[in-house]
Amino acid sequence: MFKKILISNRSEIAVRVIRACKELGIKSVAVYSEADRESLHVRLADEAVCIGPGPSKLSYLNVEAILSAARITGADAVHPGYGFLSENADFADAVNASGMTFIGPKGAAMRQLGLKSAGKAVARAAGVPVVPGTPGLVDAEYMKDLRKNVTEQIGFPVMIKATAGGGGKGMRLVRDPEQIEAQLKQAQSEAQASFNDSAVLIEKFVEEPRHVEIQIACDQRGNYVALPERDCTVQRRHQKLIEESVSPAISPETRRAMQEAAVRLAKAVGYTNVGTVEFLFDKHGKFYFLEVNTRLQVEHPVTETVTGLDLVVAMIMAAAGEKLPFDQARASEIRCHAIEFRINAEDPTRNFAPCPGKITSLQLPGGAGVRVDTHIYAGYTVPSYYDSLLAKLIVSAPDRMSAIKRGLRALDELEVGGIHTTAGFHKKVISHPDFQSGKFDTSLVERMQADEEKSRAKDKVAA
């Protein structure tokens, strides 16, 4: 087992890993930028090394500085957390090449699964369903029998997407087969006008999608385990806000099918350590591979809470060459319902604008079934250099409705003085009838915001 682990990260995830180290009797080394001198991870670690100035590029993304810090402190392993260098295969290789152990998958597996296009190819080969679409760009050959090809190979409704796209330009939703030729031409000319590139591809339009992901854990002895799913459907602009486990939309049969698919994918590349296979789940009950995150996820505590397992400990053990501390049967035990809220330093009334500043007072929620992972404290100044995650509040209860009630209670207890947070927004979401019924898709937050906008406009007219 390792004697000393350097955590090449900051904020709550650095604190999370330091706690696991302490419980395993392993010494921890924190690294920090000049902007993070006052951060909690610096205080909790056994040693701390300043690696550079505030901007991430010069500190938390500075491979040479991190390796140098590991060397001077005598660390024998590096935990990357999430974000920053956690999915950088070259960094993983560099850590391993310098005689230390990278706590995560091998660089080769990261390269095979990390990139979206590469991951999709592996998934297809492993028999994992991917969103059907044109094999590549739509070319003259494909255009000849366009309607027939799309109907037979993809199936309506479909989405036409400009490959150089972004911001919805060159995107066309087509439900009616009669419309496909005309819409394709329009999409191509729009793409040509916007991006100077008319290349488009066609993909099946996934209707009313939910974002559901499977946590996997694998050791170096050939054990592959899939844990219960996390449902991350509550998103705003592809940023997850609330995650829960298990999903209110997934049946035990679908769960098993998704877990088997995730394990097939992991086995196909000889994956080691933890990872997450993300899927889209549509209103017809079908799931499609989206991508693999070759690292620990922000929302991993949801799975830890539901199963009563420790994923960071599992990562450290797997990286050290030991056997996973749980088998598939144990990992399949669903012991409660869990919901995580990402408490961000953002102002929901100003379009979620980041809101760094000094936290003048702090009251964290507590009591049964409440977990808070955070690096903040009263008097701490949230730096403007990094992402806005302040804390993760995880609540659990025997069933989903009780967990929602506990969430409302805990969010009520949370008081962060001096800056705006997303706590109040979470209360609105979980009070919404659609969230409570469990019948919603990734558009929930946008719909709620549109409704709010409308009622505000109405109030204005009335006034």
Partner: protein, 131 residues
């Protein structure tokens, strides 16, 4: 901000002071404003002697060396130093060095480091008394 009042400006300023930002500007058409805090960036936690000394800090995290292997030490406490003169090196990787130079002509008043010692980024290594 057509009706910007002093009070609004002072509200923005007090918000600005509560953050680690040093400057904020706002534009709406031809109108707008820019504010900056007068205070310098976050002060270092290291003890700093009186201000006629200039601290020379580690430019990177690594191991301090007086010079490359086999080459003589260039700086002694109390000795005169020239602007740009090499004071030492931080070894950041195998054979990779980051040079530390004197910021001015003067006297190397204080040496805070031993050869072979690990250093953090920004750690004061020397104090130079400018001539």
């Amino acid at each position: 901000m057509p009706d910007t009042s002093t009070q609004e400006i002072s509200e923005v300023l007090s918000w600005l002071k509560s953050t680690d930002l040093v400057e904020v500007s706002y534009r709406n058409g031809a109108k707008g404003f820019s504010l900056a805090t007068a205070e310098p960036g976050a002060a270092q936690n290291y003890p700093v002697p009186s201000n006629r000394f200039t601290p020379v800090c580690a430019p990177a995290v690594g191991v301090f060396q007086w010079n490359e292997p086999g080459r003589a030490r260039q700086a002694e406490e109390g000795a005169e130093v020239a602007d740009g003169q090499r004071l030492g090196l931080v070894e950041t990787g195998k054979g990779k060095f980051s040079e530390i130079k004197s910021p001015s002509n003067g006297r190397l008043a204080r040496v805070m480091i031993d050869g072979g010692a690990p250093v953090d980024f920004g750690q004061p290594l020397f104090f130079v008394e400018p001539a």
